[in-house]
């Protein structure tokens, strides 16, 4: 164990993983409770479009993926409010467009695109100090916007009641979408595009099974998100398998244990 902590890349991966685990599992409780699990998947694929554009432009892909994903997140919310389409349909449209753009951008690059696989499946070796500072910045935003927990929770419970209490539910929804989009982009290096949606959904779903209140669900989700990221990174290091997949498998194991424990009571 001492050996793993002495390796600079593992130090970065553990800190980055814990921070990303915190962020994804915190926002995940709102995603799960609002029935928006598909949103995580849609935004992750939007990020793929942005990363492909970054690779085409030969610049840092995540810096392109960030505004790209945020615009898609706003676009999904906008389509939802402007039409009578469900969230899933709006996500489905942007999901497909972003993937199609990503494929076109990678094709236009006309070079070997090994880099793209790093982003698709995640790589702890790729986590830089800058990534950690950005992720830490996002965690600070969570604490700075702490009063929004009460508003998002209230809207998640009953949108109409929240509106009768004059909460700006639409503005809050847009803000939540943007923060989820940024979380997805900062999580890509640790978890990878393919699995990031699970990172948002599984800890929150496990917490829902175990919790009697939304406050408890939030605490349990964050605890699972952080601990599974740390355990998953250590396990993946020792048995030399992809970190993102290991984390998700540990989260899934916890989910089924929680479900079976709960249903056997």
């Amino acid at each position: 164990m001492g050996e793993i902590l002495s390796l600079p890349f593992m130090q970065r991966a553990l800190i980055g993983g814990a921070l990303v685990g915190f962020l994804a599992s915190y926002y995940g409780v709102f995603i799960v409770q609002r029935g928006l699990s598909f949103l995580g998947s849609g935004l992750a694929h939007a990020a793929f479009g942005g990363i492909a554009l970054g690779l085409l432009l030969q610049t840092e892909p995540l810096w392109v993926a960030l505004p790209f994903t945020v615009i898609v997140a706003i676009g999904i919310a906008w389509v939802k409010y402007r039409t009578e389409l469900s969230s899933d349909t709006a996500v489905g449209i942007f999901f497909s467009v972003s993937m199609a753009l990503g494929i076109v951008f990678l094709f236009l690059r006309r070079e070997y695109t090994a880099d793209a696989f790093t982003y698709l499946f995640g790589s702890i070796l790729a986590v830089t100090e800058t990534d950690i500072w950005i992720t830490l910045g996002m965690v600070i935003i969570v604490f700075a916007t702490w009063p929004l927990w009460s508003r998002w929770a209230y809207t998640s419970f009953d949108r109409e009641l929240a509106q009768t209490d004059r909460l700006p539910v639409i503005r809050d929804d847009y803000f939540l979408s943007v923060l989820v989009a940024v979380t997805i982009v900062v999580a890509i290096k640790v978890v990878g595009i393919v699995l990031i949606a699970a990172f948002l959904v599984i800890p929150a779903a496990t917490a829902r099974v175990l919790s009697r209140s939304f406050r408890m669900m939030t605490v349990v989700s964050v605890t699972i998100g952080v601990s599974s990221a740390l355990i998953g990174l250590v396990v993946s290091y020792y048995i030399n398998i992809p970190s993102g997949a290991t984390i998700i498998l540990i989260q899934s194991l916890l989910f089924f244990i929680a479900m079976l424990t709960k249903s056997s009571r």
């Binding site: 409770q33 009460s150 009641l161 909460l167 009697r212």
Partner: protein, 257 residues
């Protein structure tokens, strides 16, 4: 301060090319109990949501205690939504829902004074034993009591309820109306209730608004619920038997009253 709880002038609400509410005109005095009745799709819930400021009128004017609905402080109004729309998968204790009535937010912590106030409201409606119970484990009647506690926890002067008796048994229904009447009396509050329950409308309300997108009638039950008005609101031949029952129950109530 306005003498009226609610003033509605030439109110028209438009959804695309359809008018769920067309030219409504009425005033509701303070301390009145008003039932809103009409067939499905008559605009009853739309009317309530317009009073709450959730829907903006296409034409006309609405005033709640003399102010436009969006300017009315939330603490002045208690609202009980249709329970059937509640998300039962949301993890919440009953007391937390009542606390939202105080804060206008979902509670992270339970400060003692707020907890006591919320618990007091639950006691008032006979739901104090449900305080620590998850909402998902409550029956329809229990849930309705918790929502009622939430709506009165800030002691508002106006309480609006959307089909509060749906899904509760006869005893629970009688309890609900007893609690509403007690609250109306004790706090001088105005009660506005959407209902399909004619018995409740004729027996508990001071006035009835009979609605079918247009305002068919508004006044004391005996005057509002005449056979002609009921026929106008519900009236085609397919409702013949229902209409007969409604007219009879309305007439009975006038005789008893």
């Amino acid at each position: 301060m306005s003498n009226y709880a609610v003033q509605v002038e030439s109110l028209t609400v438009t959804f695309d090319d359809h008018h769920p509410l067309d030219n409504l005109n009425l005033t509701i005095a303070r301390n009145e109990f008003v039932a809103i009745v009409g067939p499905n799709g008559a605009g009853k819930s739309t009317f309530l949501k317009t009073l709450l400021g959730l829907i903006h009128p296409a034409k006309g004017r609405v005033r709640i205690f003399g102010s436009p609905p969006p300017k009315v402080p939330p603490k002045s109004i208690g609202y009980v939504p249709q329970v059937k729309t509640m998300d039962r998968s949301f993890p919440a204790l009953s007391i937390e829902l009542v606390l939202t009535g105080i804060r206008g937010r979902w509670p992270w912590r339970f400060p003692k004074n707020e907890y006591q106030k919320a618990f007091g409201a639950m006691e008032r409606v006979g739901a104090d034993h449900l305080a620590q119970r998850p909402l998902s484990k409550l029956s329809g009647g229990e849930l309705q009591r918790v929502y009622l506690a939430r709506s009165i926890v800030r002691e508002p002067k106006l309480v609006m309820l959307d089909e509060p008796a749906t899904g509760i048994d006869v005893v629970g229904e009688a309890d609900l109306y007893r609690l509403l009447e007690a609250y109306q009396k004790d706090f001088g509050a105005t009660i506005i209730m959407v209902t399909h329950d004619w018995h409740a409308a004729t027996h508990h309300a001071d006035k009835v608004l009979l609605l079918n997108n247009k305002q068919i009638s508004f006044g004391p039950p005996g005057k509002a619920l005449t056979e002609d008005n009921l026929r106008l609101a519900f009236g085609h031949i397919g409702h013949k038997h229902a209409l007969k029952f409604l007219v009879n129950s309305s007439t009975r109530s006038q005789t008893n009253g």
